[in-house]
Symmetry: C2
Subunit: 263 residues, 2 copies
């Protein structure tokens, strides 16, 4: 099932994507639902983020590729996480497919994309095993973890480096059937492919994060986990269009604007 | 005004505290409200957390006393934050007044309290000045930022060190009139005072955090900021009762239990 959430006359609605059409649905991925008779074309849809998240968790550094390559080049040992310690983020930064990433006027040029798999919790989870962890997942979507690198590095926390308004595009779809083992994550800027990696190459997988988090914390329907990215992103600037595709889910596309400094 | 939120037959209700009575209110601190004719005794009330928070922000290290004393004793310069960089936390950890802090069986003995002022946002804020920042505050409550020090220090993030279920008692009241300049924060364990400090002695104040955060991020009604703590906490163990009083707000009291390790 491929869910989409969209606005009609300022009101949020859910639907299923089938081909180039959206079939409207009463209900949501988190409870009962049924198809209505209404359909509309996918083209021209005003996308919303695919659901209103409760807690926004993020794995942070969770792919070894970039860290290992960089360390090897410098003749050093890579510093990789030794356990699945989860991080925290702000829902204020979320925007849907098609909405603009707005870079503040005082940001540096080092504003970069990070294409990430987003895991959405559908059922309350406490102390679940790795074996059963996926029973608590309702679906998957795509996130672009836009990061201002000087703030990320220079501030005491990653508050504005990663949580500035508009810095977390998410969508366009929430899919319930997803083959992580077969998926690739691809990032394109202005149509040119800049990055491609196997989505499964995580240091700690979805099962490991859900099981470990749930040993101490209750996970609730609507919580989500951004699973990290691989490779090295490039800078985004005014007028760029950035796309994150995860095969089997879809393509999240957002234009970029840079705010003009006040006089 | 002193708001309280409580459960009747499993349903959440708001009220005002006047003396030893609660006057039931239709509505909430975040919108329209009016008193009903119903009153009930404060004694025996089943407290809920004073509101359902949206984003849980935390200042982290925000009082100099302890850091400076410790550094001075070692002939070092204290490492204090140089700007108001906010941190992030999880709502899963919240419990109300009277509910038990439950220490997991695999926690160390170093589980400690942190008595904190909690600032509650009542109005959407973006790029507000320090001068106007308090116009966006609907009220204040009390938080106990329970922390497992070995996890806090040893893990890559503070996820379970500070966000384990039950590690964030909050309440009992949300007060709209509060004199920060006159307030003291007092922590008692089993009735014995262990800590007392002037609540105002923050490195970065409420106005500074709200204004600075809002330069990059939209603050929404129901967002809250835990403002940090001073002094050095002591360990909490099974059977203890910990109280955090902030004068002018009230006293947040929670028993402590330690989970028995499975066979």
């Amino acid at each position: 099932m491929k869910w989409v959430r969209f606005a009609v006359d300022g009101e949020a609605r859910y639907g299923f994507v089938e081909g180039n059409e959206v079939i409207e649905v009463e209900g949501s991925p988190f409870g009962e639902y049924q198809k209505t008779g209404n359909t509309r074309p996918l083209e021209g849809l005003k996308y919303l983020i695919p659901f209103e998240p409760k807690q926004f968790y993020a794995a942070g550094l969770n792919y070894g590729g970039h860290a290992i390559a960089k360390a090897n080049a410098q003749g050093e040992l890579p510093k990789l996480p030794t356990q699945a310690d989860i991080g925290y983020r702000g829902n204020n930064s979320l925007i849907p497919h098609d909405a603009a990433i707005c870079i503040p006027h005082d940001a540096s040029e080092r504003v970069q994309y990070e294409g990430e798999l987003v895991v959405v919790i559908g059922k309350q989870a406490k102390r679940v095993s790795q074996e059963n962890a996926l029973d608590y997942v309702v679906g998957y979507t795509i996130g672009n973890d836009v990061s201002e690198r000087t703030w990320q590095k220079g501030d005491r926390t990653i508050w504005r480096g990663k949580n500035t308004d508009t810095f977390a595009p998410m969508g366009p779809f929430l899919v319930t059937d997803f083959d992580l083992g077969a998926a690739q994550t691809i990032v394109r800027v202005n149509g040119d492919e800049q990055l491609r990696f196997d989505t499964k190459d995580m240091l700690f997988g979805v099962r490991e994060f859900i099981s470990r988090m749930s040993q101490y914390m209750t996970l609730y329907p609507g919580d989500m986990i951004w699973m990290g990215t691989d490779g090295k992103g490039e800078n985004l600037g005014h007028g760029d269009v950035v796309e994150v595709e995860i095969t089997g889910i879809g393509t999240l596309r957002n234009p970029v604007i840079r705010e003009v400094a006040p006089e």
